[in-house]
């Protein structure tokens, strides 16, 4: 059992994956000598060489496009997009090529590729460094999308993603990179595409992923002081969604609130709310509520603490749900 930060847990997971399979490559800007701007790939180039940990030119489409060719040649590229807001130059390759090659080839060309994206705000950064574009990828057939929320999941989920034969967009909550937890490397992880109940409760269900899981857990603790019992589910996988545990929870609590940093309009919460309504219509005591970013671009960092859904906004939504 070792105490490890979320960023270090991903490093350890990457290292394990590279040890297990010589076809695993890491590509990205500054991932080699520097070890990545968040040091997630720290030390890997030193140990695995420049052919396996590749400092690429500054061209995101180039990173993903060449990774497609490497995957065709039998490699398993793990591409780092330095920040969420920098993924868009690669969007065409991801959506038109990575996502569609398996389909276009009728299964003859699998695309075993992981695209790591540090996402979310709260780190006082300048524009383009705090975005949450996960719904844009979850909306794209052919991709799978996951988001880790804690060091233990991060360690296992990155390895499971690398082993998968489908392309996976792997969202890392950069604001939680420095959170610590005990990691037992001999434990058996949960399957990758599964959500998990992380706090049990009976009055309402909070649904979150990535950085907002911790916010929801803190909200549940605060609510308990007021005698309210909140269930919290870490969705972990955004495409496919694993909603059976969610339905089970909502049938118990009758109330659901989806929390994410991404804008509410057509965000993950919209799809989840629709599905809960379809599956649990007769169990609902209130409409499914969504707490998230406003329909604005991510604002300047001096107001981001107000922009980001925090404990109070989550509890306010709980109040509104219970008031129905």
């Amino acid at each position: 059992m070792t105490q490890i930060t979320l960023s270090r847990a991903i490093t350890a997971g990457l290292r394990k994956a590279m040890e297990d399979d010589p076809k695993v490559l890491i590509m990205g800007e500054d991932v080699g000598k520097l070890g990545g701007v968040f040091r997630v790939t720290d030390g890997l180039q030193k140990d695995f060489g420049e052919d396996r940990v590749i400092d690429t030119p500054l061209a995101e489409s180039g990173i993903i496009g060449t990774a497609v060719g490497l995957a065709m040649r039998g490699y398993r590229p793990v591409c780092e997009i330095q920040f969420d807001g920098f993924v868009y130059p690669a969007y065409d390759q991801i959506v038109s090529q990575v996502a569609k090659l398996h389909f276009r080839s009728m299964g003859k060309l699998p695309m075993p590729m992981v695209i790591r994206i540090p996402f979310g705000g709260g780190i006082g950064a300048v524009e383009h460094h705090s975005e949450s574009p996960e719904a844009q990828f979850a909306h794209t057939a052919g991709l799978k999308v996951v988001a880790c929320s804690n060091p233990v999941d991060a360690y296992w989920m990155i390895q499971q993603s690398i082993k998968a034969d489908d392309p996976i967009v792997f969202f890392e909550p950069k604001g939680r990179y420095w959170e610590k937890a005990d990691l037992d490397e001999s434990a058996t992880p949960l399957p990758l595409f599964s959500s998990r109940v992380v706090a049990e409760g009976t009055d309402a269900t909070l649904l979150a992923y990535g950085p907002k899981v911790k916010t929801c857990l803190e909200a549940a603790i605060a609510a308990a002081d007021e005698g309210r019992s909140l269930e919290v589910i870490d969705l972990r996988t955004l495409s496919p969604l694993d909603l059976d545990p969610v339905y089970e929870s909502v049938r118990k609590t009758g109330r659901a609130i989806v929390v994410h940093e991404a804008v509410v309009n057509l965000g993950m919460g919209s799809e989840i709310a629709a599905r809960i309504t379809e599956d649990c219509f007769h169990s609902l005591e209130a409409p499914v509520l969504r707490v998230g970013g406003f329909d604005t671009p991510y604002p300047a960092s001096r107001v981001e603490e107000e922009y980001l859904p925090d404990l109070d906004r989550v509890l306010d939504a709980v109040d509104r749900s219970l008031a129905y």
Binding site: T66, D92, Q93, S105, K108, P240
Partner: protein, 392 residues
């Protein structure tokens, strides 16, 4: 033959743009590598020569005629409603056969959607090409069967895939070993319009800085649908390579011998570990962009008439006949064979089975998701709900 080297002589950015562009200078300018003139005369070049046999030239002739037949038959099938659309190769046969026949089995080719001649050289059944244009599939041959990638419609995207694949070859130790059975290279096909795409420029950069064994084979057919080459570049395209740090060569794209020689040199250079080369095959799109296009809206018939005199097949025929390298029986046999190819294409096209809607759910992922499995199940039940529904 000599091969192109990094210091291949060129006199800077000298050429007068007016000499290079435009119908009055459609000869491609002073640096055009030409080994067989439009009249069918052999021509010497200081850096490149065709090192094949007369049998090879006869083989090229056969390839040129048969692939043109495939192309014209597919165009006819579109007119008859059997294909939704077809992207004609007409006029570009020499560029494709010359480069395609320079490839070794272990090399990999990444095409656009117009590389019907290259597909032929790689051994891809022409019927497979029709699936995409008929709408029964999306071009689903297995790229590993013939080392010929899938047709790529997004302009230029495949140049990055080619470069990544070549980087994979470097990691597999199949570049620069000196073993001719082992060393391999990648060829990326694209057009003049694609040179404006970011992906193509990024591919140049990746290939250059990683010294990957990538041959960038640009068929400059002068037109990107309705936009002339002047809208893509103010300098001859092959000169772009210099700015990326690797050699560029302009070959006569209607001369199968020049295209073969230049591509072969570039591929050898790549296989031996000397990095990428840009080959510009200077040619002309004699047909429309696709069967939905109407080139009379944007270009002059004079231009077309000028390029007709440079036909890629006529010059090989003239050469073979004049030198007594092939008799009438040879030409007659190729003609008969081409009719057979066309007939097989017609029949094969019409008998292609339509896809089944329920199959699409299986093809999205290597590991199907429960969500998709459920959607398939629900849609199958919906289909079954119609009275007398018989699902196949």
């Amino acid at each position: 033959m000599s091969s192109a080297s990094a210091d291949h002589p060129r006199d800077g950015l000298g050429p007068d743009l007016g000499k290079v562009f435009g119908p009055s200078h459609a000869d491609g300018g002073p640096e055009l590598v030409q080994l067989l003139t439009p009249e069918g005369e052999l021509r010497e070049h200081p850096d490149f020569s065709f090192d094949g046999s007369i049998e090879d030239v006869r083989g090229f002739y056969r390839d040129l005629v048969l692939t043109r037949r495939v192309d014209t038959e597919a165009t006819a099938l579109q007119r008859q409603g059997e294909l939704g659309i077809w992207a004609q190769m007409l006029g570009q046969e020499a560029a494709q056969i010359g480069s395609g026949r320079a490839l070794l089995p272990q090399d990999m080719a990444f095409p656009t959607y117009r590389e019907h001649g290259v597909a032929w050289c790689r051994g891809v059944d022409p019927l497979n090409l029709l699936g995409l244009f008929r709408g029964v599939d999306q071009g689903a041959w297995d790229p590993r069967d013939n080392n010929f990638g899938l047709y790529t419609i997004v302009i230029g995207a495949q140049t990055l895939h080619a470069t990544g694949y070549a980087m994979g070859m470097q990691r597999d130790g199949v570049v620069g070993t000196g073993d001719p059975e082992r060393d391999a290279a990648v060829i990326a096909y694209f057009g003049d319009g694609a040179t404006s795409q970011g992906d193509v420029n990024e591919a140049f950069i990746f290939a250059s800085v990683f010294n990957s064994p990538t041959v960038f084979f640009c068929q400059n057919n002068q037109w990107a649908i309705s936009e002339p080459i002047e809208r893509q570049s103010r300098i001859p395209l092959y000169q772009r390579a210099l700015g990326f740090g690797f050699p560029g060569i302009r070959g006569d794209g209607n001369d199968v011998l020049a295209c073969h020689a230049v591509t072969k040199a570039a591929l050898e250079r790549a296989r031996e570990g000397s990095g990428p080369t840009f080959v510009e095959a200077y040619t002309y799109r004699m047909g429309a962009h696709t069967t939905t296009d109407d080139p009379t809206r944007y270009r002059l018939s004079d231009d077309l008439e000028h390029w007709k005199l440079k036909d890629p097949i006529a010059r090989v025929e003239a050469y073979l006949k004049r030198g007594g390298h092939a008799d009438d029986a040879f030409f007659a046999d190729v003609q008969v064979e081409s009719e057979g190819v066309a007939e097989r294409l017609r029949e094969g096209c019409r008998s292609m089975p339509d896809p089944h809607i329920l199959d699409i759910f299986e093809q999205v992922y290597a590991e199907q998701t429960p969500e998709l499995a459920l959607q398939k199940q629900e849609y199958a039940a919906y289909l079954d709900s119609f009275e007398g529904a018989a699902q196949s």
